[in-house]
């Protein structure tokens, strides 16, 4: 036998698990390379949003203190893009369920969570690439990073953490719906309210009191405010902001932790149910 002997020490099992994650993540990254058309259209959508917001809405949405809307909106578009990417992942997983692939995975001696973790990890890599391109587009339309390098790097790392969590949310949605078409529609139904009921595109200062309360406690708003702060972008939260808006970075990390626990637990549970 050329297979490595199966050892049962915790360290060895952990090492095998990590290796399974890496193998699956690499598989999904290869998919992205093999489907250039899909990659192109995932890129096209954020590009359209940048241009739309910078040139169409930009003039119409006033920011307090006369700050530039383009500087404000880029982070919102980053977040919407990775949220959609997460939902696409869910649809991809739902697609795979229908093709017998999951049965094959389950009949292998690999970590049962590997197909899900692999997807989330490869999404982070893919989103890093997308964000890189979007930064270039943003710079071209006049957006600037106005903080020093360290906080700026922190901002982008936070964005990638959000990507990881949103992939888990997407997979949970995809598994609950169970088919590709439904997962796409459900994904849109989740992302739009989540992103648009936050301060991604409209500042809290421009909202009615009730709306502002909802938006302030929306995790996406915490992400927006935290990342804008780290990138040195205009960041109006108004007078007497709600708790998460006062401590945006801490709030973001807490939200990420909470959502990650709930969505990964839910997704793994739904995955096991779907396949047994």
């Amino acid at each position: 036998m050329t297979t490595a002997e199966v050892t049962n020490s915790v360290g060895a099992r952990l090492a095998w698990m990590v290796r399974d994650y890496v193998l699956l993540a690499r598989r999904y990254m290869l998919h992205a390379r093999r489907l250039p058309a899909q990659l192109f259209f995932t890129m096209l959508q954020p590009l359209l949003f940048v241009v739309l917001f910078a040139y169409v809405f930009g003039e119409a949405i006033p920011l307090p203190g006369g700050a530039d809307y383009t500087q404000y909106v880029m982070v919102g578009i980053f977040l919407q893009t990775i949220a959609f990417a997460g939902m696409t992942t869910g649809a991809g997983l739902a697609d795979e369920l229908g093709r017998g692939m999951v049965d094959r995975f389950r009949s292998l001696p690999m970590a049962p969570s590997a197909p899900l973790v692999g997807r989330a990890v490869s999404d982070v890599a893919r989103n890093a690439f997308t964000i890189g391109l979007m930064i270039l587009i943003g710079l071209a339309v006049g957006w600037r990073i106005s903080s020093s390098p360290l906080p700026a790097i922190g901002g982008f790392l936070l964005l990638l953490l959000c990507s990881f969590v949103l992939s888990w949310c997407g997979m949970l949605v995809g598994l609950l719906v169970g088919n590709t078409q439904g997962a796409v529609s459900a994904g849109i139904g989740v992302v739009f309210p989540l992103v648009w009921l936050s301060n991604a595109f409209v500042p809290l200062t421009g909202m009615s009191t009730g709306m502002r309360a909802i938006a302030s406690w929306n995790p996406v708003s915490s992400f927006n405010v935290a990342i804008r702060e780290l990138l040195g972008n205009p960041n109006p939260v108004g007078a007497d902001p709600a708790l998460p808006m006062r401590y945006p970075i801490a709030a973001s990390l807490l939200w990420i932790l909470a959502v990650l626990i709930v969505s990964s637990w839910g997704a793994m549970r739904a995955y096991r149910r779907r396949t047994s």
Binding site: T2, T3, W16, R34, G100, D103, S107, P109, S276
Partner: protein, 339 residues
Amino acid sequence: MTAFIEAAGLVKRFGRVSALTGLDLHVEEGTVSGLLGPNGAGKTTAVRVLGTLVAPDAGTATVGGYDIVRQSGQVRQLLGLSGQYAAVDAHLTGRENLELFAQLHRYRKRAAVRRADELIDRFDLGGFVNRLTRTYSGGMRRRLDLAVCLIARPKLIALDEPTTGLDPRSRYTLWETIDELVGQGTTVLLTTQYLEEADRLADQIVVIDGGRAIATGTSDELKADVIGERLQVVAADNDSLPAIEALLERIAGTTATVDPQLRSVVVPVSDGRTLLAEVTRQLVEYDIVVHELGLRRATLDDVFFALTGHRTDATVDESGDGEALAASAGTDSRGGEQV
């Protein structure tokens, strides 16, 4: 010879649909067993339960001596499973698929490459192994799928309708491959809708209906006991059907089955050759024109009729190509099988 699979009273329900209703199965090591039945009979569920992919609601089974519920990990080590859909990654090449699955079987990278090379040679995949599998034909994809399920040298391979949707040539190639595997001592459990396939490959045929085994035996045993030989006449027009029916029943001494759609009359016979001459003589004597006249082996539909008294709701397809059968034999438990 020892039992490799031993199942007793397996039950599996999906919601209100009962896919298995008490399946008993006994498979000897190093043999081929064919689960034969129409869509919805419970074949796929049987394979998935034995392959530890779904847990049974009741009943017990062991594979290689290991309990499929309590020792599913050990069972999986013994088992190569090839599902109804060839489960290979469409966006990877054949070689990448083999190497990926070998690595997931815990082969180190170099060993995985070596194992892939061996399987490429063995299954003669060299011509297309570097192409993306989404460009493969059904036959190529099946061969790759079979190669993938043999990576870890399983003692048992379970093939769920391995030749459904394949053209005749790919089907024969696959049959030869299965022969070879059995020659090397692998135990094979396969499901099929085609009697011809079970006949050709299986040492033991298990006829499944309504989630249970309704008959078990070698192909010869089943033929002698339930299937037997058939004499079939296809009339030139519907008007002559009653005359043909009467004629055949008189000569064969058995009850004829008339299908007005196909204008065919079929009787079970025991000494076909002699009776055929007599039928020919009398058809000429009474001046009845026919399109076809001959002896044929039983079809799956005949087996079902003989065993259960009900048809599979399928159009009997004489060519052995079961597309019509596959399309029309679906029953309400089909949904259950796909879960």
